[in-house]
Each structure stands twice: as structure tokens, then as C-alpha cells.
């Protein structure tokens, strides 16, 4: 019996160019750049104006933090519809604890109270995340149903805690620092926090074992199980991560709006999913990147700002996002089909 070949070519990395060309991320980045150029050409003083750019970044910071967690969840071929409600719930528990620690009105609260408030927000988010994870990974209930449930339950629980009205007393120090402050010579603190979260997300997903397992589970859960990966444990951690980030987003939102914004987060989940999917992460799992998500989240935001600046009716924005989103998923489908035919 002759072996097919004995000369084994060394396994080389593809050139950077080829890898980039094959990645959805590149194409979606080009779309974003094209949008910015188009809006910039139509109105040079509009989108490229520093103030507008700052607002664009600040307004997207909270959504970006949610979307980083969502990226991990979607790569495991899961979904987390609860992020917006968990954000609100975490903001409420955090605000209530800060008020309680300050004798009912936290306006003049110091940093000790604010730090405790921040931790309460993170723990509240983590608790919902762990609950989601256990129901999905251990009880094997579909993620869509579990997180649809916690989407309703977290908001309901929050409204029970406040009696249905927003908490409006926030520590001024929090609003001045995280909410409207700047760091590093003029960069809004909100943006710095979101950038740090995104950077940690990139590192975690692309270089660590945690990231590798996230891809493996989304790619083939049975195979992951057979190689001895603790799939249940990992899924709980991924949903907990999404919950913690929703808690952080809740705290950021508290600092920025100085109120618990009960009614403003009903579509955060869909916006985050749209950003993640636009960024090239596959709803079928196994494929995606945090860098893509960062780009993907900015496409609806730039469209929105751009339409406002050039005077197009803003109601066109969701329609434009819908078209780009459906096209992105369609490309992903075509790519998968082409691959699976081999």
C-alpha cells in the first residue's frame, strides 16, 4: 500500500491579506467607513465635528458594553434577550442601595457608597446571568425562551422594587465622573469604560482558553462535550458574563441619565443582537469576533446621526439598518451553505 504522500508541507498561516479578505469583519468595516465618508462629503462639518462624534460615542457606549457580552452568547449559538431588562434591574438595585446607604437621598453620597452601588449593579446582573445560564445549560430549556422569560421577569422585578416609577436621586459625584466626565485629555469616561470592556472582550475571546471553548461549543456542542470540555459550566459562565456586563451597562446608564430609565430599554436586546450580527458573528454559532461587534454597533449609530445631520427623516434609520442586517445574515447563510456542500 502506498501512502498518498509522504512529503508533508509545513502548515503555514495564511497571509494576513487573504485572511482579512475572507472575513466578514473587513466588509462590514468598509461599510462603516463608506457611511462615514458619504455623510462627511454631504455635510463636512456634520459627522466629523468633534462634539457630534463625542455624542455618537457616548450614546453608543452602553449598547457596546451589552453587545460585547452578547457576542460571547451568540458565538455559543445562544441568545440573550434579557440584557435590556437586566440593565434596568441592576440600575434600580444599585440606585436603591445607594439611597438606602445615604439615608434615603444619595445626591451627596461619597465614593464609598458609589463603589458599593457599582458592585451591587454587577452582582445583580451576574445573578440574572447565572439564572439564565443554569436554566439553559442544565435544565436544557431553549435560550430564546429562558431569556424571553427573564426579559419580562427582570423588568417586572425592578418595577416591583420601585413601585413602577423611576428612581431619580443619584450621587452627583457619580454623574460628574462616570456620567459626564472626561479622561485622558477629553475622552468621555463612558467611552473609556466601553473601550476597556471591548478590549478585554477581544483578549478573552481571541487568545484565551475561555474564548476557544466558546467557539468550540457554538461550533459543535457534542464534539466539545466528548473532548471533555465542561459545557454546562462554560455556558453558565458565558451567560453570567453577559449578565455582569448588563449590570455594568446599567450602572453606566444610571451615571449618564441620573435616573433608572425604566421604559427606555425594551429594544436594547434587539439593538445589541443587530450590532453583533452586523459585525459578522453568526447566529448559528462558532463564528464571530468582538472587533466585528464594535464595528457592527456603530453602523446603526452612524446611520442615525448621519440622517439627523443631513436632514433625512430619522424614521429611515431602522429601515436602513434592517436592510444591512438582513443582507449580513444572508451572506453568512450563503457562506455556510457553500462550505457545507464540500
Amino acid at each position: 500500500m502506498t501512502t498518498v504522500t509522504d512529503s508533508v508541507a509545513p502548515l503555514e498561516k495564511q497571509s494576513l491579506g487573504r485572511r482579512l479578505a475572507g472575513a466578514n469583519t473587513l466588509w462590514i468595516a468598509l461599510v462603516l467607513i463608506a457611511l462615514i465618508i458619504v455623510f462627511g462629503v454631504i455635510d463636512p462639518s456634520g459627522i466629523l465635528n468633534i462634539t457630534n462624534l463625542q455624542f455618537l460615542l457616548i450614546e453608543t457606549a452602553v449598547l457596546l458594553v451589552l453587545s460585547v457580552g452578547m457576542t460571547f452568547v451568540i458565538i455559543t449559538s445562544g441568545i440573550d434577550l434579557s440584557v435590556g431588562s437586566v440593565l434596568v434591574f441592576s440600575g434600580i438595585t444599585s440606585a436603591l442601595v445607594m439611597n438606602a446607604l445615604s439615608g434615603g437621598d444619595s445626591t451627596n453620597a461619597g465614593w464609598g457608597v458609589i463603589i458599593i452601588g457599582g458592585l451591587v449593579a454587577l452582582v445583580s446582573g451576574a445573578a440574572w446571568g447565572v439564572l439564565n445560564g443554569l436554566l439553559i445549560a442544565r435544565a436544557k430549556i431553549p435560550a430564546l425562551i429562558v431569556t424571553l422569560g427573564s426579559f419580562g421577569a427582570a423588568l417586572g422585578a425592578g418595577e416591583l422594587l420601585t413601585g413602577g416609577s423611576d428612581v431619580r436621586t443619584m450621587p452627583t459625584a457619580l454623574a460628574r465622573s462616570l456620567g459626564s466626565g472626561t479622561l485622558l485629555g477629553g475622552i468621555p469616561t463612558m467611552v473609556v469604560v466601553a473601550a476597556v470592556v471591548a478590549a478585554i472582550g477581544v483578549w478573552l475571546l481571541s487568545t484565551t482558553r475561555f474564548g476557544r471553548y466558546t467557539y468550540a461549543i457554538g461550533s459543535n456542542e457534542v464534539a466539545a462535550q466528548r473532548t471533555g470540555i465542561g459545557v454546562t459550566r462554560h455556558l453558565v459562565l458565558v451567560y453570567a458574563l453577559s449578565g455582569v456586563l448588563a449590570g455594568l451597562a446599567g450602572f453606566m446608564s444610571l451615571a449618564y441619565f441620573t435616573t433608572t430609565t425604566l421604559t427606555s430599554h425594551g429594544t436594547d436586546n434587539l439593538n445589541a443582537i443587530a450590532g453583533v450580527v452586523l459585525g459578522g458573528t453568526s447566529l448559528f454559532g462558532g463564528v464571530g469576533s468582538v472587533i466585528g461587534t464594535v464595528i457592527g454597533v456603530f453602523i446603526p449609530a452612524v446611520l442615525n446621526k448621519g440622517f439627523t445631520i443631513i436632514g433625512v427623516n430619522v424614521f429611515w434609520q431602522p429601515i436602513a439598518v434592517a436592510i444591512v442586517l438582513v443582507a449580513a445574515v444572508w451572506f453568512d447563510q450563503v457562506r455556510r451553505r457553500a462550505r457545507n456542500q464540500r
Partner: protein, 254 residues
């Protein structure tokens, strides 16, 4: 024959009232390919599950190098050097071949970064390249997703992943079932190379010519028991089929 590498003695397994194994025995020595054949329902799959730790037999004993062992999970079996290649391609199609090879056994960086969970991708790629070379698995690149490879290459990677980690025995449940002729030959070549390294290979297949070409010995299961053993060089297709259908009986069926 000296002490067999892996031996099963009179395994019995019930599923409710169904008796899948009725005292099945089996032996494989180091450096040989043994095919386990039998008609559908003969108990092959149950048998492999018991020997790879996925199921536990109700009675009977399993011996590794003459010592009795308890296989309570596939992880235990793997720790003892027993690996299994499953019939369906148990790879992660979106990961590259090196990542698949090291799935669940990743090499981490040294020092603090490793403690934080960072992977040493370059080292894994380098070692994967060596292992694939050793097994004669040819791939154009280590960083394309496995899903983009041909079926044969994909299965070769799946086989390689098990044999790289197997120090004693590899079970292969129809590793060539979904493959074309050329691809099948590649996988069979890998099987021969594994055997030549002194590992015991247990092959389950329905393809009799393939069984005769690659195996050293053939053991036949029928209705949950071993009914015949052949040297592949001395057996004919007729013998195998006869044993599978019950027309030919060698072993005492008491």
C-alpha cells in the same frame, strides 16, 4: 498470544428487557488492528460504548494489560490511554485543525499569561503540524476552519485527534462510512500508521473488503456474543458473512 492489551470477559448489558450484550468477550493486542463485525443489532455499538466508558456493563470484566479496570466515564478511559473516534464527525467545523487537535487539551502560555488562560497558539500549531506529518495527514493550511476541508481530510483530522492522544487503544466506529474511495484509503493509511506505532486499533465496519484489507484479526459478534475469531489473512468473505448470519459457529455458545 501473550497478555492482550485490552480484554473484555463476558460483558452483559441490559436496556430494560432488551439484552444487548449476553456475555460478549473480546481481545486486542498492542500493534494490531482488530475488526469487530456483526449484523445490525449484534451489539457492536453497545460493546464499544462499554469499552470506551460511555456505558457501564451490568456484569463482566474489562482488563487493561491484565489488570481489571472500571471505566465509569469516557474521561476515565481517556486517562488510561483509550480513545474513540465516533461515526459522526465529532469535530468543531469552525475551528482550525490545530485547534481541533488540541480541543480540551490546550497548551497554555508560560507564566502569568498562561495562568490567565492565554493559549500558546504557535506551539500548538507547530506540534499539530508535526503530528499530522507523522500520521501522513496532508492539509494545505493549519488555519482554515475544518468545515472548509474535504470530508476525507476532516475525518483524518478526527482520527488524528484520537490517535495522537491514545497511548494504548483506539476505537473507531465506522470511520470511513461517509467517505469516497480515495479519502477512505487515506483514513486506512492513518489506521495502519497508528498500528505500526504499537497501539491497538479496534475498527467497526460494515465494509467487508475493507475489513479484510486493513485488519490483522477479525472478531464477530452475533446476538450479543462473540461467535467467531479469524486471522484476516486466512479468512474469506464467505467466512465472515457466515459467522455474522449464524451459518458458521466457532465458539462455544453454551
Amino acid at each position: 498470544m501473550s497478555t492482550p492489551l485490552l480484554e473484555a470477559r463476558s460483558l452483559v448489558k441490559h436496556y430494560g428487557s432488551v439484552e444487548a450484550l449476553r456475555g460478549a468477550s473480546f481481545q486486542v493486542a498492542a500493534g494490531e488492528v482488530v475488526s469487530l463485525i456483526g449484523d445490525n443489532g449484534a451489539g457492536k455499538s453497545t460493546f464499544i460504548k462499554c469499552l470506551s466508558g460511555a456505558e457501564q456493563p451490568d456484569s463482566g470484566e474489562i482488563l487493561l494489560e491484565g489488570k481489571q479496570i472500571q471505566l465509569d466515564s469516557p474521561t476515565t478511559a481517556r486517562a488510561l490511554g483509550i480513545e474513540t473516534v465516533y461515526q459522526d464527525l465529532a469535530v468543531a467545523p469552525d475551528l482550525d485543525p490545530a485547534a481541533n487537535l488540541y480541543l480540551g487539551r490546550e497548551i497554555r502560555r508560560k507564566g502569568l499569561l498562561g495562568a490567565l488562560g492565554m493559549l500558546d497558539k504557535a506551539e500548538m500549531r507547530r506540534r499539530a503540524s508535526e503530528e499530522f506529518g507523522r500520521l501522513g495527514v496532508t492539509l494545505q493550511s493549519v488555519d482554515v476552519p475544518i468545515g472548509a476541508l474535504s470530508g476525507g481530510q476532516r475525518q483524518s483530522v478526527a482520527v488524528a485527534r484520537s490517535v495522537v492522544w491514545a497511548s494504548k487503544v483506539v476505537f473507531m466506529d465506522e470511520p470511513t462510512a461517509a467517505l469516497g474511495v480515495v479519502q477512505r484509503e487515506r483514513v486506512l493509511d492513518v489506521i495502519r500508521k497508528v498500528r505500526d506505532q504499537g497501539i491497538g486499533v479496534v475498527l467497526i465496519s460494515h465494509n467487508m473488503p475493507e475489513v479484510l484489507s486493513v485488519s490483522d484479526r477479525v472478531e464477530v459478534l452475533r446476538l450479543g456474543k462473540r461467535v467467531a475469531r479469524f486471522k484476516a489473512s486466512e479468512a474469506s468473505l464467505t467466512d465472515l458473512v457466515g459467522a455474522m448470519t449464524g451459518a458458521l459457529v466457532q465458539e462455544d455458545l453454551s
